[in-house]
Amino acid sequence: MTTTGTGITRLAEVFTTAKAEDRAALIAYLPSGYPTIKGSLGLLTQALDAGADLVEVGLPYSDPVLDGPVIQHAVDAALKGGVRVRDTLAIVEQLAERGGRAVVMTYWNPVLRYGVEAFARDLAAAGGLGVITPDLVPDEAGSWLTAADREGLAPIFLVAPSSSDERIASTTAATRGFLYAASTMGVTGARDAVSDTATTLVARARAHTDLPIGVGLGVRNGAQAGEVATFADGVIVGSALVSAAEHGRAAVARLTTELAAGVRGQHTGR
């Protein structure tokens, strides 16, 4: 690794840097193993080079209940291509070696099977900064919270428009690095409009935490990224990038550049 500090502190830097530049951070999701293991490393590298401040490396899972058709299709292809959990860790390591900042986005069962402590240890050793867990709530995360704490990794939980204030409080209390605000009730997938539930949710969450807040689910272009950047600390883009990935590295670079301009308030609209 070329840099020092725990995953949590290095993740915090993503947001302090963006804040110092008076903008939101751009967080790009792409699954490992799609279209191939090597290809996914190339796409993630491309996203970082084109202006993503942080990447979420998706760990492909057979039953992605919170994902829409685009991501389902990509992770399905990745699994058919034979991607393993250790490949995801290797990709994180290679990104980190180049100074890239990465968290893993994973459904919980692959981590359970790998061993929660072993996964935390190996991810920290690979230079990963934290883990986003779409189907794990803090209520069931006892062993993960302990392991993450020991390894300096950020446990990143989600809040949703349906979350009660009580749950927003308990979820933010367990979260490190940044809070993931799922802006709409629904599965992942690009949407035409940024829903106003997102602003409400972010405002509700701010009442409970000083953590940076990333907003995801639905952002697909620079204009939307710019809109989200006005009220969130991080703009998370998944399905739109995965759709771009179907067209190759150049398409991912193009969209990332547009999104990076968007989070800087420089996107001129389309």
Partner: protein
């Protein structure tokens, strides 16, 4: 046949037990809530409403009225005398859930959850289904109560259970064939969850088995406890003793937990669940989650799971669509660990032999799911002999399976069958004697 009336009623199933999970739904290390935050508010609402409903005399009276006047409860217990001759002379008692309205035990749970849906002020229900029995029951209750209904069903299952697809559509439900993954029950559950995350404001998800996140395993169990409550009373009244064993097939585990539960404190009564072993557990082509699985979290709960070393869910195989699922309800994992219940595999071939046997000895065409339990009872009877009394949950009737069975036994002209034959059965057709 035992007397047609019992003192036991459906509402007694909701009275609370000494075997309830903790407040967050854990049966020991099993169960809980492994699910997206976005749905936590919804399951909290279901849990709170269920807690209120089960103490509300009006709700309980309505449930009992529907179970009696609409579903036809109590279901009788039949002494299967001719089957007994093929089962070591053991007395085999059949709890006739196949005689319920819609043809299986599934209606017990669905009527309860549909009433709960109305209480919550929701107007739409969704369901997953494998064999189609849960889908049919849900479509039925939706029609009865004026709810909009959408049923998710794996494409493979829509083919092998085509009769039930037609029934659901006749009842006014929309059936959505699921084309992702293995195109069976597991994938139908995934789609139902995806629907629910986006529709939770006005939609209740009527989960069809005693699995999923808390409170579903406990609540679905409670709605099915009437099976065991009635049967225990019926067997005691008719024979003056309890059975030596209570057996059932186990898919997600709802019919099994329903009949097991009221016997949990009867230490001398063996409880045995039969899992779908497909081509045989050793072949890897099976759906025996407890026999062949390892602990993991899928669809909301920690339980036994068929998964690879990376935690990816494995493809399953069973001739029975309703048992073709890689997981099992968490209370069964708990009962297996504690040793209070045991779980054994039954192959496709053993189940189909039992299917034929029950047709020919008792004039009852069972669901292929239930045929797994019959196979288990016959196996047990041969070991235990004439002194034994075995209570079997006959969870459903086999009308839906006539096509699959005809292919298996080769009793119909191949040319008369649809060309899109489910691959689970056609390869073997024509080789067996009915």
């Amino acid at each position: 046949m035992t007397s047609a009336s019992t003192a036991s009623t459906a509402s007694q199933g909701l009275a609370g037990t000494l075997h309830d999970p903790d407040d967050s739904g854990h049966f020991g290390r099993w169960g809980g809530r492994y699910m997206p935050e976005a749905l936590i508010a919804a399951v909290d609402e279901v849990a709170a409403e269920y807690e209120k409903a089960r103490h509300d005399p009006a709700f309980l009276a309505e449930l009992d009225r529907l179970q009696r006047d609409y579903a036809g409860r109590p279901s009788p217990v039949t002494d299967a005398r001719r089957l007994s001759e093929h089962a070591g002379g053991a007395r085999i008692l059949l709890k006739r859930e196949d005689l319920n309205h819609t043809g299986s035990h599934k209606i017990n749970n669905v009527l309860g959850q549909a009433l709960l849906t109305k209480r919550m002020g929701k107007t739409r229900v969704i369901a997953e289904t494998g064999a189609g029995q849960h889908g049919v029951a849900t479509a039925t209750a939706a029609a009865l109560m004026g709810l909009e209904c959408m049923v998710y069903m794996g494409e493979v299952d829509t083919e092998r259970q085509a009769l039930n697809v037609a029934r659901m559509r006749l009842l006014g439900a929309e059936v959505v064939p699921v084309t992702t993954g293995s195109r069976t029950l597991k994938d139908a559950l995934n789609e139902a969850y995806r629907d629910w995350v986006a529709s939770v404001g006005h939609t209740h998800y009527i989960l069809g088995t005693a699995a999923g996140p808390h409170p579903f395993p406990m609540m679905v169990r409670d709605f099915h406890r009437v099976i065991g409550l009635e049967a225990r009373e019926q067997v005691l009244a008719a024979y003056g003793r309890l059975p030596d064993a209570v057996v059932a097939c186990v898919g997600g585990g709802s019919n099994a937990i329903g009949i097991f539960h009221p016997f949990l404190d009867d230490a001398d009564v063996r409880l045995i669940g039969y899992e779908a072993a497909g081509d045989g557990v050793e072949t890897g082509r099976h759906a025996a989650s407890i026999t062949g699985g390892t602990p993991g979290a899928l669809h909301g709960a920690m339980s036994y799971l068929l998964q690879d070393t990376d935690g990816q869910t494995l493809e399953t195989h069973s001739i029975s669509a309703g048992l073709d699922y890689p997981g099992v309800g968490p209370e069964h994992a708990f009962l297996a660990d504690s040793g209070r219940a045991s779980y054994e595999p039954v192959t496709d071939a053993e189940a189909m032999d039992a299917f034929r046997l029950l047709c020919r000895t008792e004039g009852i065409i069972p669901a292929i799911e239930s045929a797994h339990a019959i196979a288990g009872a016959v196996r047990l009877g041969k070991t235990w002999g004439p002194e034994a009394t075995i209570l079997v949950n006959l969870s459903g009737r086999g009308d839906k399976d006539v096509d699959t069975a005809a292919r298996w036994f080769g009793v119909v002209d191949e040319a008369a069958l649809p060309t899109e034959a489910p691959d689970t059965t056609d390869a073997a057709s024509g080789e067996r004697e009915l």
